[in-house]
């Protein structure tokens, strides 16, 4: 399984943007829908200290929101 996790909600436009961005770059990722998976939602809130999606996490690093510049930095 990929070491990149993307936390999303189904109604979140920026989540779709983020997923499309990763797909275009050919980056494998594991998606977690926090609207149905409460434990993961809390794990995401603990990791980021924020209640906001999308979140891209890799190792201990994470990016909240769709920010291509920061995402590229983590992916390197």
């Amino acid at each position: 399984m990929s070491d990149i996790t993307v936390y999303t909600t189904p109604t979140c436009p920026w989540c779709t943007r983020l997923k499309n961005y990763l797909k275009e770059k050919g980056v494998d990722f594991h998606e977690v829908d926090v609207s149905t998976d409460y434990d993961s939602a809390m794990k995401m809130v603990d990791l980021t200290g924020q209640r906001s999606v999308p979140v891209l996490a890799k190792g201990g690093q994470y990016v909240v929101g769709f920010n291509p510049e920061q995402i590229d930095r983590i992916l390197q």
Binding site: T9, P10, T11, C12, P13, W14, C15, T16, R17, V34, S35, Y38, A41, V45, G49, Q50, R51, S52, V53, V64, G65
Partner: protein
């Protein structure tokens, strides 16, 4: 130097529609935008865009985008930093320091959510404070939340949050101004409590939001309500940071246009929510975008060195 006939700033309903009309008129066109879809991305169910009885904002954006992609239109996904006119040409500088040159420009940069400007708002941004209920709503399952605002967006946010939150406190400065159909839905939802004539004056917590201080506007009486989320839906301000003072604006900071989408600067047009056109609706923005593109074409046709006479 590459010179475009038309540069469209913004890719919401106005910008994308302008793009389609411009290309069909044979204009060499580029769209420069920070994102695709603009505010429509933040809208859940749209029930008043003709042709679709009900469509999700994101789905509508995808349809717009697919239609734009049918044509040979250059798209640049970057924010605009400045815009100036020298001689008969417009120079658009982007955040990534690229300069785009055009003979005519349509500004369709839309609006962004207004902030409440109260203590705690910035500190707890994304830590309970949100401007997008469609995005973050599901993260507030099983907890109480507040919504600030009384217009369509606020009422829609409250209705949306009723799917997740335990109780929704809706604070509106005066009585609700949302569409009657939405207000009726609101009244049928027992989880939502409406406080007309109230506003949030402070957002409090330690790591994340724990409560809000609310003020009754008439009596200045204050009280706290425990909530874990605060959704701010108090309207929008135009995205005009890149426009200098030579472009006339109205008291709402919207770019002033006449009924032909013309600004005070020849060759510079504006359309949609960023402009002074009354009523901000997707269908109106799209129509204005079409009108602006046709007007830009007409302007270009009548230039002494018209690119269309070549």
């Amino acid at each position: 130097m590459e010179v475009y006939d038309l540069v469209i700033i913004g890719a919401g309903p106005a910008g994308m529609t302008a793009g389609v009309f411009a290309i069909r008129k044979g204009l060499k066109t580029v769209i420069v935008s920070e994102d695709i879809g603009g505010q429509v991305n933040m809208t859940s169910d749209i029930e008043n865009y003709m042709g679709f009885q009900e469509i999700d904002g994101q789905a509508l954006v995808e349809k717009f985008e697919a239609q734009v992609k049918e044509y040979q239109l250059t798209e640049k996904l970057m924010a605009v930093r400045s815009l100036k006119k020298e001689g008969n040409l417009f120079y658009i500088r982007t955040q990534s320091d690229e300069t785009i040159v055009g003979r005519a420009v349509i500004i369709c940069s839309g609006k962004k959510p207004k902030t409440l400007n109260v203590p705690g708002e910035e500190e707890f941004r994304n830590k309970g404070v949100s401007y997008c209920s469609t995005c973050d709503g599901p993260l507030f399952r099983g907890v109480p939340v507040a919504v600030v605002g009384g217009g369509n967006s606020a009422v829609k946010a409250a209705l949306d949050l009723a799917n997740y939150a335990t109780e929704i406190h809706l604070f509106a400065l005066s009585k609700l101004t949302a569409d009657a159909i939405l207000v009726e839905r609101l009244q049928r939802e027992p989880k939502i409590k409406v406080y007309p004539g109230h506003t949030v004056v402070e957002i409090k917590g330690s790591q994340v939001v724990e409560r809000v201080t609310v003020e009754r506007v008439a009596s200045k009486e204050r009280f706290d309500i425990p909530v874990q989320g605060v959704f701010i839906e108090i309207g929008l301000i135009p995205n005009t940071d890149f426009v200098d003072d030579t472009v006339e604006r109205n008291e709402l900071q919207e770019i002033k246009i006449d009924c032909l989408c013309r600004t005070n600067i020849p060759g510079l047009f504006a359309a949609g929510d960023v402009s002074s056109v009354p009523e901000k609706q997707i269908i109106i923005a799209a129509g204005e975008g079409a009108k602006a593109a046709i007007q830009a074409w007409d302007y270009l046709l009548n230039l002494p060195d018209s690119p269309m006479k070549g």
